[in-house]
Symmetry: C2
Subunit: 101 residues, 2 copies
Amino acid sequence: MIEEVADLRIQPGQQQAFEAAVHKGATTVISNAKGFLGYSVSRSIETPERYLLRIQWASLEDHTVGFRESPLFKQWRAIVGPFFTAPPAVEHFTVVDKPAQ
Amino acid sequence: MIEEVADLRIQPGQQQAFEAAVHKGATTVISNAKGFLGYSVSRSIETPERYLLRIQWASLEDHTVGFRESPLFKQWRAIVGPFFTAPPAVEHFTVVDKPAQ
């Protein structure tokens, strides 16, 4: 399992509409992709136009090839793309330490 | 509950030592702070010197005041600070969407 972390900047004042859009896009589009395991969305307290979208995938290629090269990617971007003020900054992460809590 | 997200850059080749240090610092120092709820550490696949350290706190002030102004902060920085090649980029986040999976 790997985690995609997308650092997103959206138009000021559009938080409520963006949060509804990303929920719709994640639950009706991305969730249909092979290897999709789950997601979460967090809003920055210091920078209210900044969000972190995290998506858990079974493998790196499930995101970079399977999803990005599928029609689902265009559907997703059509829903959330209009809110972005900059291209999303995306990297993928491996959890190296997460003690049981 | 809020989440501190620290975006960390460390010296090349020091991954193994850093991961041991951050585990030690989190479990023996930060875990003693009031309001500490848990943490995780992830390493970037594209940028192996980049880590995201996430710490869950009961409140924003538990981190920004309670922890940062306590002796624990200096103890923590003594353990992990030597690995950093840049000041950590830290913001705090509120989860706005995390469906049950």
